[in-house]
Symmetry: C2
Subunit: 206 residues, 2 copies
């Protein structure tokens, strides 16, 4: 198909598609003539993926380019890819100051106490410190007991995550990275709806 048809099929303007091509977010089409290229279903899929990561995942286009590079480079080692993906997904360092020194290391201590088998250098421990400090700043009581209660249920979610990872490595990488970014919004929406269900049930409305 031509670029205009790819635009119709994907719901993204021709100007934006040209931008994606320039930035390497979209692989080039097959050259037909000096001024025309032919696009296929792999291009439609790719554009839908970029839109999903951008509009729902909330990732900036530069980060999407890095994610795509990681998941489309064949032959990389599994662990290496996962670590690259984790780094890609982390917020910029400039955001990390939040919470101040008093909150540093709280997540590390909590994880050790809970007995979770997690690399003590894992950058998501800092993310948890930061998110925990932000909840403190929001003035909502957030103690270890509440964190443990959440963790009981989040372990169940992680089991579903791990369970549904395909065995084929390329598909697994795609699932882990895309799943990490795109399932968070599903879980957030589910949480709002479940809150409504639980509070309506408590109130005896059904």
């Amino acid at each position: 198909m031509r670029l205009a048809e790819l635009s119709d099929a994907s719901g993204v303007s021709v100007a934006t598609l040209k931008y994606y091509l320039r930035e390497g977010l979209l692989h080039p089409g097959a050259v037909v003539s000096r001024t025309q290229a032919d696009y296929d279903d792999t291009h439609v899929e790719r554009v839908r993926l970029v839109r999903a990561l951008s509009e729902v995942g909330g990732l900036p286009l530069a980060t999407i380019a890095r994610v795509l590079e990681v998941i489309t480079t064949p032959g990389k080692e599994w662990l290496e890819v996962l670590e690259a993906a984790q780094r890609t997904l982390l917020k910029p360092v400039s955001d990390k100051g939040f919470g101040g020194a008093e909150g540093r290391g709280r997540a590390r201590a909590w994880v050790a106490k809970r007995g979770w088998f997690v690399d003590p250098e894992d950058p998501f421990l800092d993310e948890l410190d930061r998110a925990w400090a932000a909840s403190d700043a929001g003035g909502i009581g957030f103690d270890e007991e509440r964190l443990n209660r959440y963790a009981d249920h989040v372990e169940g979610i992680a089991e579903v995550d791990i369970d549904t990872v395909p065995t084929e490595p390329e598909a697994a990488i795609r699932q882990v990275i895309i799943g990490t970014i795109l399932v968070d919004p599903v879980l957030a929406a589910l949480r709002r709806l479940a809150q409504q269900h639980v509070s309506n049930s408590v109130a005896g409305h059904h």
Copy 2:
């Protein structure tokens, strides 16, 4: 304290504090002279809250202004405040096109089947449709069975949410709104760490 001291106490520059004051994100200090005002702990707390909502919650300042207006306006009805908060938290309408017509109404049907007591007009049903469609676009298998497995655990999370809401109305409103925004990042960080724990446990590393 003076503005410069508020800056030291909150880690936010004087220029940014002046901007917060102009935009109504920060309440004015007590007037001391024609050119000076006095700030107290309520100002430090407010600045930390704005930073938390901005840097960790990822909300634009205009949305934060609306959230603050909702939680600091006394005398509003509980349900009215919750609805205003929900509207405030929703993504702009322009983002809503994602997924196309084929995904519309899937969440509504699923919630009915599951027996969740949820308002069929709830805008988070559209959010779920959108997030679900994005996961489809990401090429990861996301069927009703997987959604049901997640929902089992998310119900547990919502029970913790509802359980920890204080009975005093003003505190409750604050907890629900701030908790909704700021606990999502905690849960996301927990999910990454739990994934690592679960996959290390499955791999027999401990």
